[in-house]
Structures are given as structure tokens and as C-alpha cells.
């Protein structure tokens, strides 16, 4: 049981990478079971972490397991039927020549293997651009397209897939404004944003993929959204939001500037206080608590310069000097109703 000491310093990733831990979670190994129950009893402060790691590991396993089980026996059988019918038509090749051909192919593959290994070793397979709290980043992609990344967002590309003929692909978590260059060869540009794929040739638009919802606002040109089985063609000024979990598509006309104001360092607040606080939470990575139900629903309209959170909070306070109290301590902002003195 000397290993126990090591485990107390484990983080979530260490746990799920640990074979002993995996055996317990995935294979319900009896000895491991005794060990990990005991570990949790003796280290109660680790119980949450163990449960989280368990949850992540089970989810990973379950995710693929469910997908595999969803492939029905009938589907497999009908696929094999197609193979079987072709098997009749393609007699087995008895000649030795085919082996020579395959040996040549294998030699070429080995060559490709060496080449790609050399490339991959430079770690350029995937490039990540990330912005932190309250930070905005202006990027230029290999094709010259421009991207502005809003706070707490991440954009990934595969740099070796940006040749002239390749479909240009980016993966977005968070919010970004794209100015996509049109390519003469007409290759597409795809933004993978959560459950939504945005396909374009060349245009300007804003994509936001935070949590379960993905939203797109089109500023210029034309784009096609591909959602499950429906395609939505967007015109400038169109806003589309999509939630796969709720299977809900919302489309409306909006003022594009409201959705792209963040680019110019503006935060346009035109919502309930509780929605606004959610937005500020995302941008500044600060936790917001509103201690009054009525305040949460309060509709607020205001444009403020992004930057210092303190300034924004002061502006908010100025709106309702006699009604609200804002308490900002480190990573927490508490908004409460000012108790009347009378």
C-alpha cells in the first residue's frame, strides 16, 4: 500500500492514465475495488477528484461503446452482403505478381512513413491559438484570412493542411470574427464550432460556440450552415443559433454591429442582468453571483468599453446607484440589492 502516497498527489489526468485506476473503473477488478474504496475513506478530500476522474473515464468509454452498439447487426450484415456479392465477381488472384506489386506499395508506404514522421516530430501537426481572460487576439491564417479571437477562446488549425487545394478547416471553442479570403480555386473554409459546421468561400462573419449553443452572425457575403440534415443559407444580418442537445434552431435578423462590437473593444449589453453577468463571466473568467431574483431579470441596455472589469462594474453601479450593491473580491463579484436605510 505504499503507492497510496503517490496517489494523493494525482490530478484528474494522472488518475485516468493510471492502469490500476482504469482497471478499477472499467473492469471492476475486485482487488482494485478494495484498494480504491479504502483510498477514498482515508483521503476524503480526494473523493471528489476520484469521482470526477471516474466520471470522465466512464464517459469516454461509454461514448465509444454506445456508438459501436448503435451499429445494428442488420447494418453489418447488409454491408457484408455487398462484400459477398463482390467476392463472387472477383476471383482470388493466384499469381505471384500481386505480391511484387504489394511489396512495391509497401516500400512506398515506408518512405511516406519516414517522411511524415519527420514532419510530425516537429510538432506542427496542430497549432493552437488561445486568448485568456479579457484578452483579444488578432490572427492571420496561412491563407491570409483574418481572425479576431474574443476572450477565453481557442482556435486550432492543422498547418500542414493549408495547401492551395485543401479545404481550409478550423476548430473553434469560444467566439471569433472571421474575414475569409476567397481563393481562386474556390476551396472552402470550414469553421467547426461545437455541433455546427460553417462552410464558406469568402466572407465576413461572427461565430460563437460556448457551452451547448453555437451562434453565427453574418456580416457580409453568403454562408451555408450545415446542421444535422438541414442546410441553412444565410444573408447578411442573419443570426442563427443552434443547440444540438435541445435540437433547436433559432433564426432572426439582427443588428450585426451589436454582435461584433467586441472586436472594437466594446461590450454591448442589452439583456437581463443575469445574461449580462454570464457574458462577463466568460470574458473575464470571474464568477458572478446575483443575490436577488428581481435583479436577475432586470433588463439592461448599455455599451461599455471593454478592458478593466472594475470600470464596467462602476458603470453598472452608476446605472442604479440607490438600488444595487456590487462587491468585487478577487475572482468573485456579488451583486445584491441595496437594503433601504429606512
Amino acid at each position: 500500500m505504499t503507492n497510496k502516497n503517490i496517489y494523493t498527489s494525482f490530478d484528474l489526468e494522472d488518475f485516468i492514465e493510471n492502469e490500476h485506476f482504469r482497471n478499477w473503473v472499467l473492469h471492476e477488478d475486485h482487488n482494485a475495488n478494495i484498494f480504491w474504496e479504502k483510498f477514498q475513506q482515508e483521503n476524503p478530500e480526494k473523493t471528489n477528484l476520484v469521482k470526477e476522474a471516474q466520471s470522465v473515464l466512464l464517459s469516454l468509454h461509454h461514448h465509444f461503446d454506445t456508438e459501436i452498439k448503435e451499429v445494428s447487426k442488420d447494418q453489418a450484415r447488409s454491408s457484408f452482403q455487398e462484400v459477398a456479392s463482390k467476392m463472387e465477381k472477383r476471383p482470388r488472384d493466384k499469381s505471384k505478381r500481386i505480391w511484387l506489386k504489394w511489396m512495391a506499395a509497401a516500400a512506398v508506404l515506408v518512405g511516406i512513413g519516414f517522411f511524415s514522421k519527420a514532419l510530425f516530430n516537429n510538432d506542427i501537426l496542430l497549432k493552437t491559438y488561445a486568448s485568456g481572460n479579457g484578452e483579444r487576439l488578432a490572427l492571420e491564417l496561412p491563407d491570409g484570412s483574418k481572425v479576431e479571437l474574443n476572450a477565453n477562446s481557442e482556435l486550432q488549425i492543422e498547418p500542414d493542411h493549408w495547401n492551395d487545394l485543401d479545404t481550409r478547416e478550423v476548430w473553434l471553442q469560444g467566439e471569433a470574427f472571421f474575414e475569409v479570403n476567397r481563393k481562386s480555386k474556390g476551396t472552402k473554409f470550414i469553421v467547426h464550432a461545437g455541433d455546427m459546421d460553417v462552410a464558406v468561400l469568402g466572407t465576413q462573419f461572427n461565430v460563437r460556440s460556448r457551452g451547448e449553443k453555437a451562434e453565427v452572425v453574418l456580416a457580409e457575403g453568403k454562408i451555408v450552415l450545415e446542421l444535422n440534415d438541414q442546410n441553412i443559407e444565410m444573408e447578411p444580418g442573419d443570426f442563427v443559433s443552434y443547440s444540438k442537445i435541445k435540437n433547436k434552431v433559432e433564426a432572426k435578423k439582427v443588428k450585426v454591429a451589436d454582435y461584433t462590437a467586441w472586436k472594437d473593444g466594446m461590450i454591448v449589453l442589452n439583456n437581463t442582468l443575469s445574461e449580462i453577468c454570464k457574458e462577463l463571466e466568460i470574458v473575464y473568467g470571474t464568477n458572478f453571483v446575483i443575490e436577488d431574483e428581481e435583479l436577475k431579470k432586470r433588463q439592461i441596455q448599455l455599451s461599455v468599453q471593454a478592458g478593466n472589469l472594475e470600470v464596467i462594474l462602476k458603470t453598472l453601479k452608476l446605472l442604479y446607484p440607490d438600488e444595487i450593491n456590487i462587491d468585487h473580491k478577487e475572482n468573485q463579484v456579488i451583486i445584491s440589492k441595496l437594503v433601504s436605510k429606512y
Binding site: A76, V83, L109, F120, I190
Partner: protein, 162 residues
């Protein structure tokens, strides 16, 4: 030499797993379907003794992958069709359900590593060989995926509750 009955059995056993694995490489399901069929047909034609393969599963995974990567390039824009998958059993822990939604949001190459590492229980050196990438890159992909899940699961209301 593998006879037809045995050949069919192998096909039916591995088809679902290969289809799901293929989806981490391309979203073009008809292409994956074609490629699996072609793969087995070529085994059949070449009279490959599948039973004699030391690790048949690994052999199938690597062959499917190489073929898909080669064909995927040619098919240009077919990447767009994305998998229609939703509903998960209700008997499940709601927390697990949310984490699964996060997994679905990951880029494909990260999903692929997660599949091999946490579903197929392969080591990073095996994975780096299968995918022909360095050990460190394999680890990085996995690390990034776990980091994404970890970061976002903290935001899930149900996780904050305990």
C-alpha cells in the same frame, strides 16, 4: 487461408468498431463504408489468412486508417456531413451525459487518440506507431482533449453541485 464462413464472422465482429473508429478520421460515412468493404475484399483476393495475424484488430485499424487518409484527401469537401447522434440512455448519471457532450465537441484527431487510448486501452507508444506520430504528439493530443473536458466540466452546473 480464411474460409468464407470464418471471413464473414470476422467481418461482422469488427465492422461496428471499424465504422466508429473511421468516424474519428472522416465524417463521410459512405466513404468509411466503402473503405471497409474494399479492405476486406482485398484481403479476400490476396488470400490473406486473417486468423494468422498476430493482432488482427490492430492490423484492421491501421489498414483502415491508411486507406481512409489516402482517400479522404481526394474527396475534398465531403468532410462536411456530420454524424447525427443524440439521445443517451436516461438511466445514466446526468453528469456523465454532459461529459459525453463535451467529448462530441472535440476535434476528430483528439477523438481518435481518446478512442485508442481509453477505449482500446493502447499505450502511447503503440498509438504513436499506429498513427505514425511521435510519442510526444500522441500525449499532447490526449492531454489537450482531457484538459478541454476538465476545464468545461467545471462549468457544468451538475458538477458544481457537490
Amino acid at each position: 487461408m480464411t474460409n468464407k464462413v470464418r471471413f464473414e464472422k470476422i467481418y461482422l465482429d469488427y465492422y461496428p468498431m471499424l465504422l466508429v473508429y473511421g468516424k474519428t478520421i472522416t465524417k463521410d460515412i459512405p466513404l468509411i463504408e466503402d473503405t471497409i468493404q474494399e479492405l476486406f475484399l482485398s484481403f479476400w483476393q490476396k488470400e490473406e489468412d486473417l486468423d494468422a495475424k498476430e493482432s488482427l484488430e490492430n492490423y484492421l485499424i491501421v489498414s483502415l486508417r491508411n486507406n481512409l487518409i489516402r482517400k479522404r484527401k481526394k474527396t475534398d469537401f465531403r468532410e462536411l456531413n456530420f454524424d447525427v447522434k443524440d439521445e443517451i440512455g436516461l438511466e445514466q448519471d446526468p453528469r456523465a451525459l454532459k461529459i459525453q457532450d463535451l467529448i462530441k465537441q472535440l476535434p476528430n484527431h483528439q477523438k481518435e487518440i481518446l478512442f485508442l487510448r481509453f477505449y482500446k486501452n493502447k499505450s502511447y507508444s503503440e498509438i504513436s506507431e499506429t498513427l505514425d506520430i511521435s510519442y510526444q504528439v500522441a500525449r499532447n493530443f490526449s492531454h489537450r482533449a482531457i484538459k478541454f473536458i476538465k476545464k468545461n466540466m467545471k462549468k457544468l452546473p451538475s458538477v458544481l453541485m457537490f
